[in-house]
């Protein structure tokens, strides 16, 4: 295992997670959430849980991002708080 890659991926996970909360634009938050899921998928793959990584890539990074974007399209793009 290359531990440098793991550290970098974990850092990106943290940045994406915090960014998804802080950002005012909800579409941007949805995309950050997709990036977060994809990095989590890489982490699962590093740990050898290939089935979980596959599920995370298809459900987390794929479908849920689309559903978030559809919901943002129908509601408002900016948060109130």
């Amino acid at each position: 295992m290359i531990w440098q890659i793991e550290i970098i991926v974990l850092l990106i996970v943290m940045i994406c997670g915090i960014g998804a909360i802080m950002v005012k634009d909800l579409l941007g938050a949805a995309i950050l959430f997709g990036a977060y899921s994809f990095m989590m998928c890489l982490l699962w793959a590093i740990m050898g849980a290939v089935d979980v990584a596959f599920t995370e890539a298809s459900v987390g990074a794929g479908i849920s991002t689309v559903l978030f974007v559809a919901a943002v399209f129908r509601t408002s793009r900016r948060t109130k708080d």
Binding site: M47, F54, V59, G62, V66, V69
Partner: protein, 276 residues
């Protein structure tokens, strides 16, 4: 107040991180999780089910009840989404927008008028105008069939490689959603209507539960696929492998239909006329 919230979050986060110090380290063979039943699965899966991917065997065979109720959870999520979002009363709007295909002109047509019914030159488009994009449509036309083929491969090949009903169903649903995004919602209703999606999502659960009932009819426990050897004409071990495949097909159909239903309801805000 904001300081108070941050302090609470840091406090709980610190406690959680402190608790993880007591966890067994990653990949520890002496950890409780890898001493109890895991060795049995690792040693016996091939000779009991002839499935090389242990995760699939545990998911669909040894822990078949769990997976069945997971499928039912997904089914209920789809039904709950319909109950929450679906609006039965359709708002009648007299305005209609059409695109004249040969010239690319957009026409705004008042109530009571319309293009000639047998003409193929006009294409109904959404009121919320989106530009016609040839690249997106052609690209999705290339991608959709291959992603559907890949989804079927993931479902059918879940015994040997990572994958299975859940992942394959999600990819199959994603390909249909891609079709709906790149064209429009109205065209995708002609491919998979709401009624068909609801029927499919029930059919998936019925396939799963029906496989279990078939096992009890042939004289063994619920979801013990060994009993299927009498109708499939193979030995007990191969019958368990085939039983896993039947169950995965049910899961795949259910997940695909629920994903499509969620997208239809979210993208059109429950009105099922036009959307993203």
């Amino acid at each position: 107040m904001k300081i108070f919230k941050i302090v609470i979050v840091l406090l709980f986060g610190g406690v959680l991180i402190y608790c993880t110090l007591d966890f067994p380290s990653w990949g520890d063979p002496q950890a409780p999780a890898s001493r109890h039943v895991s060795p049995r699965y690792i040693e016996k899966t091939i000779e009991e089910t002839s499935v090389p991917n242990i995760v699939t065997a545990v998911l669909a065979d040894y822990r078949g009840y769990d997976t069945m109720f997971e499928t039912i959870v997904i089914f209920s999520a789809g039904i709950a989404c319909i109950f929450l979002l679906r609006v039965s009363k359709r708002k009648k709007s007299g305005l209609q927008m059409y695109r004249h295909v040969p010239t690319g002109l957009t026409l705004r047509i008042e109530e009571g008028y319309g293009p000639p019914p047998d003409s193929r030159d006009f294409e109904r488009i959404d009121l919320m105008w989106v530009p016609y994009d040839l690249i997106v449509k052609t690209g999705s036309r290339l991608i959709v069939p291959f992603s559907q083929l890949f989804a079927l491969y993931v479902i059918a090949h879940g015994h040997h490689s990572p994958g299975g009903g859940f992942q394959g169903g999600v990819i199959l649903g994603a390909s249909i959603i891609l079709f709906a995004i790149s064209n429009n919602l109205r065209l995708s209703f002609t491919r998979i209507s709401e009624k068909l999606a609801v029927l499919l999502c029930g059919l998936g659960v019925i396939i799963y539960a029906g496989t279990g009932i078939l096992c009890t009819i042939f004289g063994s426990n619920y979801l013990d696929y060994g009993a299927l050897s009498k109708i499939l004409g193979v030995d007990v071990i191969t019958a368990r492998s085939h039983g896993i495949l039947m169950v995965e097909i049910g899961v795949g159909i259910c997940v695909m239909a629920v994903m499509v239903l969620l997208y239809y309801n979210l993208a059109s805000a429950g009105r099922h006329d036009e959307g993203l």
